[in-house]
């Protein structure tokens, strides 16, 4: 065999042993816009005159527009600016999000229990049962939170408000 042919063979053999190997792979992640909340209005039951002689009077604000206030063993008076809590929510368009909130908060005036929260969103309507809202195609929604305040015996007339902390997260 000629030296040239042998050199070729040796070169090819060397090349085969040193041949690098390579593979590609691909992990993935789905990135969403962060959810953000803006506060448009705090929950207010407006000016209410509880029947101080009895226990268990209530005032209820409905979440859906227009604002509706109902009372039981209490009188709803004017000039109190009653409104559900209203929050603006922005995030990833069309994504479903979950709203969580405490079962009870206390009113800023008198420390009376505020319960029975009801949720309404611009995109889905009443979502009290599920707590699931959905962002619009532009990534927006408006959440309105209604609730009921309960008055003990001896409660005085006042404008009753409450801070309702909420947490939202993507579903």
């Amino acid at each position: 065999m000629s030296a040239g042919a042998l050199a070729i063979i040796v070169a090819l053999a060397s090349a085969a042993q040193a041949a690098p190997s390579q593979r590609t792979a691909e992990a993935s992640v789905t990135i969403l816009r962060p959810l953000a909340i803006t506060n448009s209005a705090n929950l207010s039951f407006g000016r209410v005159q509880p029947q101080g002689s009895v226990d268990g009077g209530t005032a209820t604000i409905s979440p859906a527009p227009p604002v509706t206030r109902t009372t039981d063993r209490a009188a709803g008076l004017s000039g109190g600016g009653e409104t559900p809590a209203i929050r603006g929510i922005v995030g990833e368009p069309t994504r479903v999000y979950r709203i969580t909130l405490p079962a009870t908060v206390t009113s800023s005036q008198g420390g009376y229990p505020v319960t029975a929260f009801r949720l309404w969103t611009a995109n889905r309507g009443d979502i009290t049962a599920t707590g699931l809202g959905q962002l619009s195609g532009t990534g927006q929604d408006t959440l309105r939170i209604g609730a009921t305040i309960s008055f003990p015996k001896g409660a005085k007339q006042d404008v009753f408000t409450a801070n309702v902390p909420i947490t939202i997260s993507y579903e």
Binding site: M1, S2, A5, I8, I9, V10, L12, A13, A16, Q17, A18, A19, P20, S21, Q22, R23, T24, A25, E26, A27, S28, V29, T30, I31, L32, R33, P34, L35, G91, E92, S169, Y170, E171
Partner: protein, 193 residues
Amino acid sequence: MGDYGLRGVGYPLGMTFGPTMILRTLSMVLVGFGTGAQAADSIAIDNSTVPAMGKVAAGSITSTFTVDGSTGAVVGATGNAVRVKSPGTVSTPTITVTCAPCSGNAASRTMTVTVTSTGSGRATITSFTRTNMSSGVTFGGSVTGSPLIFTILFPSGSGSPTASFRLGMTVQVANSGATGVRSLPYQISTSRP
């Protein structure tokens, strides 16, 4: 040379080759080389599309998540991005490399493995970690890095020994940029002297 199909060609060494013989011999060499290439070092990945980290709500600052190669657990490492209602663990890839042919001295049986992130954009892999290394071989070099470069010394003897490891990684998600599914490509390569 025996690995390249020259046995039985019928031209004893020392015999003078004419042009035809040389061409035939070279043809055999090339065929043999093809056979040899099939037995070359190789890389196998049990799942080339993992880890799939699921949804992450971006943070206000650049954030990182670490995927544990052994357990598949994903934890937020830095920043304030949040994984969204996702399983606690994800699948991680198992990489198996084969040394073939694998003979000679230690240097020639030592494979260098390089794992490199090849992506760019809002989400990228910033670090790799090897875990669950197989036994019967000797791993050396870095455990974590980007690129992650380490060596595997295969045992002496014939055959095509394999070694395997699992891959964990750290993924960075920037606080701004396009949303949606982002691929995190990476490349595994091997070489031997």
